[in-house]
């Protein structure tokens, strides 16, 4: 804005093609925010071609004509960061949807702006540094009790820093100065940060702590690390959204950012109605208090969908800088990629594979690269974990969005239509899925769960893989043709699938399974396998082993919160049954 006088901040529209418009007679830089047309619709410069400034508009452009004015704000697309983010629901460009309902009713109209944070609300600021202290960019200078979460007020990342001249506690709006430095710099609680630029950190660390999700197949077989990246591709109705929402509910992150990107409005409503009633298993506080929602549903403007993902990850990075573990879900990154494709085709760019722009891979990796476990500028350790749903058309994983995503992320949870049709939930295919964090996380599981855990997991994976091989034989020659030992393997594999892997998201207890319970369940199945093995060595037939009754009681411990006495009893009964077999 403080550019030279000859700067032309007003131009005119020359062309309108859907969400992409061209202006002339305007000086602009890439990603400047502009106001388009008589209604001042918000847009962003995405291409400069000689005199032609090409802009993507975040609102519907119907009725806009060539010749209407375009004004450059000289600012880049940025979000407002400060107290008030938590529990909010925003559109793709951080307009609070709750405020928009007050301003324009139940439907979203255009040309209405609303700041991301309330500029009137007062927050109780408590300084954590004092007059005379030296502070630098990123340092924490005080706190605000935002919800049950403590919001840490930081020196903006690009500030020079210096010695504190004045700082005092009290009630402030986000715009009011809470701290003055010797050189006169005034610091308020509000920061703005351009969404397309990653916030700086001191150092990236190796992710070696798992993000515990309470979902057995994830924590048990294919864990994601805090600061890691994962993708959930799956055909229609296979459980992408349910899995994402389970992660948003139960993962042991301190802050959750949930981006509903081009999916159903009702799914956001579900989150809005459920989350305030659910308790964080760690803190006992309503889940909503740690959550920020971003909604660009399928019928909202497509350019804002492109932006929504950046808005979300910038908010996530801001909380990470305070030292929090943040997890970000994006449902669905395919809709985001389609938004890119639509804009790109309006730009008449050379289409790449399946019409996606050639920079699809670059954009996806830029996004996922913003995940990570870090030491922030102030020395706090925090992380952003990113979990993206992918909706490949026809469930075909060879399409460009899935393929490019898999090249970047380290965890692959492959949803499988066959499993969901059989109502095996979560319908994550245990043979195709993988986690590249396993080695890095072994030590944590060793220390925090049990030294037995890693061998147990390896054993379970081995049984499941063996089952897949045996199934092929069974299909050819029938199960009677299998050696005795392997008939039991098939039974044990069935137990792993039905007891451990299947988990009901809609059951009050089973929806979240603590790591200790996961361990006990797997150990119980292994114990059965061991007893069976010994019995067979002593001459028991597979039929005898499979007929053990007590093992059929095992699935129900999923639905019991204080399951230990019940599990104890089942295991005692099981041992007794095997003992009886031996004495016969």
């Amino acid at each position: 804005m403080e550019k030279g006088k000859e700067n032309r901040t007003q131009g005119v529209l020359k062309r309108i093609s859907g969400p992409v418009v061209t202006a002339v007679g305007l000086d602009a830089h890439m990603y400047d925010v502009v106001k388009v047309g008589n209604e001042e619709l918000m847009g962003e410069v995405i291409k400069i071609q000689g005199e032609n400034i090409i802009i993507q508009v975040y609102e519907d452009t119907a009725g806009i004509r060539p010749g209407e004015p375009v004004g450059n704000t000289g600012l880049s697309l940025a979000v407002e960061l400060g107290p008030g983010l938590l529990t909010s629901i925003y559109d793709g460009i951080q307009r609070p949807l709750e405020v928009l309902v007050d301003k324009m009713g139940n439907f979203i109209e255009r040309g209405v702006s609303a700041p991301g944070l309330s500029h009137e609300k007062k927050w109780e600021f408590v300084p954590t540094v004092k007059k005379g202290d030296e502070v630098k960019a990123g340092d924490i200078i005080g706190t605000v009790q935002e919800t049950n979460i403590v919001h840490k007020v930081m020196v903006p990342p690009k500030a020079k820093g210096g010695k504190i001249k004045e700082i005092s506690g009290g009630s402030f709006t986000v715009d009011e100065t809470v701290c003055v430095l010797e050189d006169g710099t005034e610091i308020a609680m509000l920061q703005r940060w351009p969404v397309r630029v990653p916030r700086p950190v001191t150092e990236k660390l190796n992710p070696d702590i798992p993000l515990i999700t309470g979902q057995r197949i994830l924590d048990g077989l294919f864990p994601i690390a805090k600061g890691g990246t994962a993708a959930i591709p799956g055909p229609f109705g296979s459980g992408k959204t349910v899995t994402q929402q389970q992660l948003a509910k139960w993962s042991d992150a301190e802050i959750v950012v949930y981006i509903g990107c081009g999916e159903r409005g009702n799914e956001m409503t579900e989150v809005l109605t459920e989350f305030p009633e659910l308790e964080d298993p760690k803190t006992g506080k309503p889940l909503m208090e740690r959550t920020v929602l971003i909604a660009n549903t399928s019928n909202m403007p497509v350019a804002a969908r492109e932006a929504s993902v950046y808005t979300g990850i910038t908010i996530a990075e801001y909380f990470r800088d305070m030292g929090y573990d943040v997890s970000l879900m994006a449902d669905s990154t395919s809709r985001w990629a389609e938004a890119m494709r639509e804009i790109s085709s309006r730009l008449e760019e050379m289409p790449g594979e399946e019409g996606y722009p050639a920079y699809l891979a670059a954009r996806l990796s830029e996004f996922y690269e913003r995940a990570g476990r870090v030491i922030s500028l102030n020395g706090e350790g925090g992380s952003v974990s990113v979990i993206g749903a992918v909706s490949p058309p026809g469930g075909d994983f060879s399409e460009p969005v899935t393929q490019n995503t898999l090249r970047i992320v380290k965890v692959f949870w492959a949803l499988d239509a066959k499993l969901s049709q059989r109502r095996h939930f979560p319908a994550i295919n245990w043979l195709n899925s993988y986690s590249l964090y396993l080695d890095a996380l072994n030590e944590w599981y060793d220390k925090e769960v049990s030294p037995e855990w890693n061998p147990l997991r390896a054993w379970a994976m081995g049984v499941l893989q063996k089952e897949a091989e045996l199934q092929e034989i069974v299909q050819l020659v029938g199960s009677d043709a299998l050696p005795d030992e392997e008939q039991v393997t098939i039974e044990v594999a069935r137990m792993i699938r039905e007891i451990f892997l299947q988990q009901n998201a809609y059951d009050a207890v089973d929806t979240f399974c603590p790591m200790s319970k996961q361990y006990d369940m797997m150990k119980a199945i292994k114990h059965f396998a061991d007893l069976a093995h010994t019995a067979q060595a002593g001459g028991a037939t597979p039929q005898q082993v499979i007929a053990i009754k007590s093992k059929n009681e095992l699935p129900q411990i999923k639905f019991i919160r204080d399951y230990e006495p019940e599990l104890e009893k089942i295991m005692k009964d099981m041992e007794a049954e095997f003992d009886a077999m031996r004495t016969v």
Binding site: K14, R15, I16, S17, G18, T22, D60, T61, A62, G63, I64, R65, P66, G67, E68, I89, L97, E98, L100, V101, G105, N106, F107, I108, E109, P235, F236, G237, S238, G260, R264, G265, N266, M268, T269, E270, L272, T273, A295, T297, N299, M300, P301, G394, G395, A417, K418, S420, Q421, Y506
Partner: protein, 208 residues
């Protein structure tokens, strides 16, 4: 209303018009052909050089001599209680020989997005009287519902039958059905129905 006779090019459903005054994006366009027929279209791309119009019906009869009228309005439609019981064309005009609709409002046909914050969860069960829907693939008020079909599946009968029969039973406090879905289309079987045998109701899922 100004009429332009400056058609520069016609390609597929697209008509390119030059030397116009500023035309709004998405505006409704009337195209008058030599024999006086009026065809409708919509602006797909507009600039001070050329305007691209997508024609809703065939471009047969449109030529460089056709007259192009830009209406200055995006597509709106008159709506009102009067519409109940009437038969309308795809363009919203009565085709049952009755009088014009007296509009209470004129609404954009593209509609506006519902603010997700203003939505409430759909949870009212709609009874259709078709057992395979009510029993296992319950309909819920406010839900969107695709019916997937093969060429010979009788979907038209189904679609028209279900609104005619549907009823909302007394609203249960919290419906246990709300999480169920009508259709989770997987890979569709490639075989088509034997035409001689009408599929029984219970096989409807394989149509879905």
């Amino acid at each position: 209303m100004k009429e332009y006779r400056t058609v520069a090019q016609i390609a597929g459903p697209l008509v390119f018009v030059e030397k116009t005054e500023p035309v709004g994006y998405s505006e409704l366009v009337n195209i008058v052909t030599a024999d006086g027929t009026v065809k409708r279209g919509q602006v797909l791309d507009t600039s001070d050089e050329i305007v691209v119009v997508q024609v809703f019906e065939t471009t047969a009869g449109i030529g460089r001599d056709s007259g192009i009228r830009f209406t200055g309005e995006t597509i709106k439609m008159p709506v009102g209680k009067d519409m109940l019981g009437r038969i309308l064309s795809g363009g919203g005009k009565p085709i049952d020989g009755g009088p014009d609709i007296v509009p209470e409002k004129r609404l954009e046909i593209t509609g506006a997005a519902i603010n997700p914050y203003a939505r409430s969860s759909p949870e009212d069960f709609i009874q259709t009287g078709i057992s395979t829907i009510d029993g296992t693939n319950t309909l819920v008020r406010g839900q969107k519902l695709p019916i997937f079909s093969h060429r010979v599946c009788p979907t038209t009968t189904w679609r028209s039958r279900s609104p005619a029969r549907q009823r909302c039973p007394a609203r249960p406090k919290s419906s246990p059905w709300s999480s169920l879905r009508w259709a989770s289309p997987g890979k569709r079987p490639t075989t088509s129905w034997p035409t001689s045998r009408r599929p029984a109701l219970s096989s409807a899922r394989s149509c879905s």
